[in-house]
C-alpha cells in the first residue's frame, strides 16, 4: 500500500519534470528579439538550455551510468534552484544508450534537435559511433570515458585523467615516491579498449622507471574463473599487480588469489572499484561481502576525492547538494564524476552566455579556450587549451579501508608523474 503511494508520488514528480522538459523542447530557439545567438535546445523566452544525456540505464554498465547521471543532475538542479547561470536554467534529457553503439546512434538522433549539446555520452565504442555526426553538426559531447584518444578531438569535452596517465602515475608512486625502484610488477587487464589504454600507461611507466615487469595476463569480460590469471601473477612473483578490470572481475581475481595464498599489493584502476564489492548495498551499514577482507588494503587509483573528506574545499558544498537531491546515494566515485562533469559544462555555458553566443559552433570553440576549470578538489582541475590533449594528468591513490565511509582512504593526494607528462595521446 505505502509502496503504491510512493509510486504515484514519484510518477507525479516525474510527470512534472517531463512537462518542463517537453515545453523546453517544443519551443526551442524562438529568439524573441533578444540579442543572444541561440542554437537548438536553447529557449530564449524561458531562458532554459537543454542538454542531452546518453548513458546506460540498463545492463551491466548501468552500475556506472546511474550514479554518474544522478551526480550531474543534482548539480544542475541545485544550480537552477540558485538562479542558474545568470538567469539561465539547465535541463537534462536522458536517453538510455544501453552501452550499445547502435542504440547510441538512435538515441543521439532522437534528441539532438532538442538539445544544445550532449551533456554526457558514456562509453568508448558508443561515443565513437556518434563522433562523426557530432563533428559535422558541431554537437559537443560531454564524453564520460577516459580513453586517451578522446582527448585529441575538440568535439569531446572530457574531464579527469586518461587511463594510461593514471597507470603511469600509480607506478611512479611505487618506484619513486615509495622508492621501490626495482619492484616486481605485473598487470592483469581486460582485453578491450580500456585494458589496452591501461597497458599503454604500464608500458610507458616501465620505459620511464625500469621496474621489473614480471608478467602480463589478460581476461575476457565474460570470464567467471580467474585461477589461471592469479597463478600467473603468483608464479611470476609479482609484488605489485595493476588491475585494469571491471569490479566483478577484480573481485574474483583478488578473491581467487587470496584463496591460493597470494597477497600482492593490488593496484586497482578506477573502474575496477565499486563499493558494492565491500558491502551488499554499497553503504557502510550493508552486510559485508565475502571478498571484502581480501580486498582490504588494495590500492584504488583514480582522480576523485575521498567521499566526505571535508578538507577538500568543494566537498561540503558537494555533500550538501547530494544530501538535498539524492539523500539515498551511497558514496560513489561516479556520482562525484558526474557532479564535476556538470561543473565543467556550467563553466562552458557561462562563457558562452557571457559572450552572448549560445550557438553550437561557439560552444565547440569555447571548449578549446575554456582554460582551467576548478572542481573544488573533488577532481583534479582540468585545463582546456586549443592544443587539446589530456585535460588533467593527475592521480590520487586511495586504499581500501573497511572502516572508512565509502571504504576508500586517500593515502596519496593528487600528483603527476613525468611518465604521464610525456605520454602522447594514443
Amino acid at each position: 500500500m505505502r509502496r503504491s503511494i510512493g509510486r504515484t508520488a514519484r510518477a507525479l514528480s516525474l510527470a512534472a519534470v517531463l512537462a518542463v522538459v517537453l515545453s523546453a523542447c517544443s519551443s526551442n530557439s524562438s529568439s524573441g528579439g533578444s540579442t543572444i545567438k541561440a542554437g537548438p535546445g536553447v529557449d530564449v523566452a524561458t531562458k532554459t538550455i537543454t542538454l542531452g544525456v546518453l548513458t546506460p540505464e540498463t545492463g551491466a554498465a548501468s552500475v556506472i551510468g546511474k550514479p554518474l547521471t544522478a551526480g550531474q543532475k543534482a548539480y544542475f538542479d541545485n544550480l537552477n534552484a540558485h538562479g542558474g547561470i545568470s538567469g539561465w536554467k539547465v535541463n537534462l534529457v536522458v536517453e538510455d544508450n544501453q552501452y550499445n553503439p547502435q542504440t547510441e546512434v538512435q538515441t543521439y538522433n532522437q534528441i539532438v534537435n532538442n538539445v544544445l549539446f550532449m551533456g554526457q555520452s558514456l562509453g568508448s565504442p558508443t561515443t565513437e559511433a556518434v563522433e562523426q555526426t557530432a563533428q559535422s553538426q558541431n554537437v559537443l559531447l560531454g564524453t564520460a570515458a577516459q580513453d586517451s584518444l578522446f582527448t585529441t578531438q575538440k568535439i569531446n569535452a572530457v574531464i579527469g585523467t586518461p587511463y594510461a596517465e593514471d597507470v603511469a602515475n600509480a607506478l611512479f608512486y611505487v618506484t619513486n615516491t615509495l622508492g621501490k625502484a626495482n619492484a616486481k610488477v605485473g598487470i592483469v587487464y581486460q582485453n578491450d579498449a580500456y585494458g589496452q589504454d591501461g597497458l599503454r600507461g604500464y608500458t610507458a611507466a616501465k620505459n620511464a622507471y625500469h621496474f621489473d615487469d614480471v608478467g602480463h595476463a589478460t581476461y575476457n569480460v565474460t570470464d567467471t574463473d580467474f585461477t589461471s590469471q592469479a597463478l600467473a601473477m603468483k608464479n611470476a612473483g609479482a609484488q605489485y599487480v595493476v588491475v585494469t578490470a571491471i569490479p566483478t572481475a577484480a573481485a574474483v581475481l583478488i578473491g581467487t588469489a587470496a584463496t591460493i595464498g597470494y597477497h600482492p599489493q593490488w593496484i586497482l584502476q578506477g573502474p575496477a572499484w565499486s563499493e558494492y564489492l565491500i558491502s551488499s548495498d554499497g553503504s557502510a551499514t550493508g552486510k559485508q561481502t565475502a571478498v571484502a577482507p581480501a580486498l582490504a588494503g588494495a590500492w584504488v587509483r583514480g582522480f576523485e576525492a575521498q567521499w566526505g573528506d571535508t578538507s577538500v574545499p568543494g566537498m561540503s558544498q558537494f555533500l550538501k547538494v547530494q544530501q538535498q537531491y539524492d539523500p539515498t546515494q551511497v558514496p560513489d566515485g561516479y556520482y562525484e564524476y558526474g557532479y564535476c562533469l556538470a561543473i565543467m559544462e556550467k563553466a562552458l555555458l557561462a562563457k558562452a552566455i557571457a559572450a552572448g553566443d549560445l550557438s553550437r559552433a561557439a560552444l565547440v570553440k569555447d571548449r578549446t579556450e575554456l582554460g582551467t576549470v576548478d572542481f573544488g578538489g573533488i577532481m583534479p582541475a582540468a585545463n582546456y587549451t586549443p592544443s587539446l590533449g589530456p585535460v588533467s594528468r593527475q592521480t590520487d591513490i586511495a586504499q581500501v579501508d573497511l572502516s572508512t565511509n565509502g571504504f576508500l582512504k586517500i593515502i596519496q593526494p593528487y600528483f603527476e608523474s613525468s611518465a604521464a607528462k610525456n605520454l602522447s595521446a594514443s
Binding site: 589461471s228 600467473a232 578473491g255 565499486s274
Partner: protein, 298 residues
C-alpha cells in the same frame, strides 16, 4: 605440478557448472528438439531469488536454495503451459524464437527488479577453503562439484526408473509413437521444463559462489556451455555431463598454459578452445561422442 593440480581443480569446478547448464539444454532438446535460449536467464532468475531470500528475507541458505530451484522450475513450467503448449507441432524455428522471447522478457524483468549490482549468492561457505599439499580447495568449489554430481545422479535415477523418465526417453526417441502409445506428451514436456529450470538454478547459485557474485551478466555463461552439449552429443544426457566437465578442464588448462607455450594463438585463446575442440570432435564424429545419428529419411 602444483599449478596443474590447482588448475585441474578449478577446471573440474567450472566443468560442473557447464555440466549443469548443458544438462538443462539437453533436457529441453530431448523434449522439444530445440535449443532453449532462455537457459541463461533461468539460471540468473534462480540465483538472484536465492540471493535475495537469504540476504533480505533472512531465509536459511538451503531452504532458499530449494525455493529458488522450484521457482525457476515453475517459470519453466508456466512457459510450457502458457506458451509452448500452443506451439505443439510448430516448426522448430518458431519454438526457438519463443524461448528467445522468454529470454528477453526475463532479462528485462530481472534488470528492473534487481538491478545490475553484484550480489552475494548467500551460501554459508564464504571464502573458507581446505588447504593441503600446498593446494587450496575452496569449499564453494568442492560443493559445486558435489552438487553437480548429486543433481546428475538424481537425474539419471529419475530418467531410468521413474515413469516420467521412461516417458521422456520414449518421447525423445519418437514423439508420434510416444503419443500413439498414450504417453502424455504435454506432461512430459512440462516435466522437462521444470527440470531445466531446477538445474539452471543450481548452476546459477554455485556460479555465484565466492569469490564471484550473482548479477544478470552471469547468464552469458550459457553460451559457453554450447560446446559441452555438442561434444557429448546433444540428445545424450551422459554426453552433456561428460562434455561439460571436459570443456571446463580444457578451458582452464588452456588459460593456464597457452599464454606461455603457445602465445602465438593470441590473448584469451581459452575462450575459443572449447569450440575448437568441439569442431575437431565433430569432424570425426558428426553427432558428438555419445550422440545418436538421426535416421536418414528418404
Amino acid at each position: 605440478m602444483k599449478n596443474f593440480a590447482q588448475l585441474l581443480f578449478a577446471g573440474v569446478a567450472l566443468g560442473a557448472i557447464y555440466a549443469l547448464i548443458a544438462l538443462g539444454f539437453t533436457v529441453i532438446y530431448r523434449a522439444s528438439r530445440v535449443i532453449n535460449f532462455a537457459q541463461g536467464e533461468l539460471l540468473v532468475f534462480g540465483a538472484l531469488l536465492v540471493s535475495v531470500l537469504v540476504s533480505t528475507a533472512k531465509f536459511p541458505f538451503w531452504l532458499a536454495f530449494v525455493i529458488g530451484a522450484l521457482a525457476a522450475g515453475l517459470v519453466g513450467l508456466l512457459f510450457q503451459l502458457g506458451v509452448l503448449r500452443f506451439a505443439l507441432g510448430r516448426p522448430d524455428f518458431t519454438i526457438v524464437m519463443l524461448t528467445l522471447g522468454l529470454a528477453s522478457v526475463l532479462n528485462a524483468v530481472l534488470d528492473t527488479t534487481y538491478g545490475d549490482y553484484p550480489r552475494a549468492n548467500g551460501d554459508p561457505w564464504g571464502s573458507s577453503a581446505v588447504h593441503s599439499a600446498g593446494l587450496a580447495f575452496s569449499w564453494v568449489k568442492i560443493w559445486t562439484i558435489i552438487a553437480a554430481l548429486v543433481v546428475l545422479v538424481g537425474f539419471f535415477v529419475f530418467n531410468r526408473y521413474s515413469r516420467y523418465g521412461l516417458a521422456m526417453r520414449s518421447a525423445a526417441i519418437d514423439p508420434e509413437a510416444a503419443l500413439a502409445v498414450g504417453i502424455p506428451l504435454r506432461r512430459v514436456y512440462a516435466t522437462a521444463w521444470v527440470l531445466a529450470g531446477i538445474v539452471a538454478c543450481v548452476g546459477g547459485v554455485f556460479l555465484g559462489g565466492y569469490p564471484s557474485s550473482v548479477q544478470p551478466a552471469v547468464g552469458n555463461i550459457a553460451f559457453l556451455a554450447f560446446p559441452a552439449i555438442i561434444l557429448g552429443g546433444i540428445d545424450s544426457t551422459t554426453g552433456a555431463v561428460v562434455g561439460g566437465f571436459v570443456i571446463g578442464v580444457v578451458e582452464e588448462l588452456t588459460a593456464g598454459y597457452q599464454p606461455q607455450y603457445a602465445s602465438w594463438l593470441g590473448h584469451n585463446f581459452y575462450l575459443v578452445a572449447p569450440y575448437v575442440l568441439m569442431i575437431l570432435v565433430l569432424l570425426v564424429r558428426p553427432y558428438g561422442l555419445f550422440g545418436s545419428r538421426p535416421a536418414e529419411r528418404l
